[in-house]
């Protein structure tokens, strides 16, 4: 597999949200607006790249019996690093995402890539895989966020496009399921099929 396709496969073929259907909890909960979705995606991408690299580096030395605990320790460390960095430099984003930052530890995309890819591949390939999957996740969350924000609040990235209140349900939890379902249909029927 070429280096480039390692990155690009995360966008369509192995798209974590629409193709692999992983990490649904943050997908549904943090996409109330485009900015929130994008921040969550980038935060996950950060953890994914670093944990993929670290795990592919240590995989050879870790006995099978303590494999999962070791991986979780590595992932939790990078999540805490991210949490400290966000608290220090982007406190506003940290406040919005709140609880969902520590929850990246149990995001199945991160452990999933560690198990499925990083522990069998080189550090560089794992980093590229993390980058591709991370950006794919960011893209999906941003698209869901854009649709929900546009329908629910009449704005995109905070810029008001349609006057008035919008269709409130799209900002609430049921709207997350509706938007995800329709985008999934569109993605699977028109984009994934052509790959």
């Amino acid at each position: 597999m070429s280096k480039l396709s390692l990155v690009t496969k995360g966008f369509v073929k192995d798209n974590p949200t629409f193709a692999l259907m992983l990490g649904m909890c943050p997908t549904l909960a943090t996409t109330t607006s485009a900015v929130n979705g994008m921040s969550m995606g980038l935060a996950t991408a950060f953890v994914l790249i670093l944990s993929n690299m670290a795990i592919s580096a240590i995989a050879r030395f870790v006995p099978d019996k303590v494999r999962i605990p070791s991986y979780i320790v590595v992932i939790a460390t990078f999540v805490t690093v991210l949490q400290l960095l966000m608290q220090a430099y982007v406190p506003a984003v940290y406040d919005t995402l709140g609880l969902f930052i520590p929850l990246i530890v149990v995001n199945c995309i991160v452990l999933g890539r560690a198990e499925a890819f990083a522990n069998k591949n080189s550090v560089l390939d794992s980093a590229l895989d993390g980058l591709g999957i991370g950006l794919g996740f960011t893209l999906s969350l941003t698209v869901i966020g854009i649709v929900r924000e546009l329908l629910g609040a009449g704005s995109i990235f905070g810029y008001k496009l349609i006057a008035g209140d919008g269709i409130l349900v799209f900002v609430l939890a049921p709207g997350a399921f509706l938007v995800l379902a329709y985008l999934l249909v569109i993605f699977r029927k028109y984009i994934l099929k052509n790959e």
């Binding site: 400290l84 608290q87 220090a88 430099y89 409130l168 609430l172």
Partner: protein
């Protein structure tokens, strides 16, 4: 096996320690900036700020001073657990005469688009210059002087509830913060109104 897990945790702990030390100052600076910004939003322009701890020893209040060192505003934090989604925590700035300079919500979990409108100008603007010692701090539906948010009466009530707590705090603190001659008549009028409020709740 144990050695391996031990090594992994040791390296991770070391990494966390390093990052913590490097970000410590920036984190506290960011938190400081956040609370200063919240205070500036609810207080008239001040020259210096003095933080005092309340009688309960946990919460604190702030006294804003002008260039001459006179106390110009008292800023207290208050919360209500009667919100639709849980706790509403807010910061309220009082002028010496007991009127509210401005209010600001620090934390809430109200419904977006409905209760969350409490943070918007349309609702919170009405409290600018509101004197809780002269007007009634409850929604119109309950016989008060506060216009509730459409379809979010519970949030509006909780907002008033938190403001009432803040007003009570102002009442207990105002004597020492603003020891002025005009103060003599103010607390008396205030107590009267507060009693009335509790009866109606």
């Amino acid at each position: 096996m144990v050695a391996c897990l031990g090594c992994v945790t040791l390296v991770c702990a070391a990494l966390l320690g390093v990052v913590y030390v490097y970000t410590e100052d920036a984190v506290s600076a960011a938190q400081q900036a956040k609370s200063t910004k919240a205070i500036e939003a609810v207080s008239p322009a001040f020259d210096s700020l003095c933080e005092e701890t309340e009688a309960d020893g946990r919460t604190s209040y702030y006294v804003a001073r002008d260039a001459e060192g006179a106390n110009i505003a008292l800023i207290v934090t208050a919360e209500s657990s009667k919100g639709f989604g849980g706790k509403i925590k807010m910061m309220v700035g009082f002028l010496p005469d007991g009127s509210i300079y401005d209010t600001s919500v620090l934390e809430h979990s109200e419904t977006p688009g409905l209760g969350a409108k409490a943070t918007e100008e349309g609702f919170k603007g009405q409290f600018r210059g509101f004197n809780p010692f002269q007007r009634k701090l409850s929604v119109v539906k309950d016989g008060g002087d506060v216009d509730a948010i459409t379809a979010a009466t519970i949030t509006s009530r909780a907002y008033c509830d938190a403001l009432q707590t803040a007003t009570d705090k102002f009442n207990t603190l105002s004597q020492e913060v603003f020891p002025k001659p005009q103060q003599e008549e103010e607390p008396a009028a205030g107590e009267e109104n507060i009693e009335e409020d509790t009866r109606n709740e």
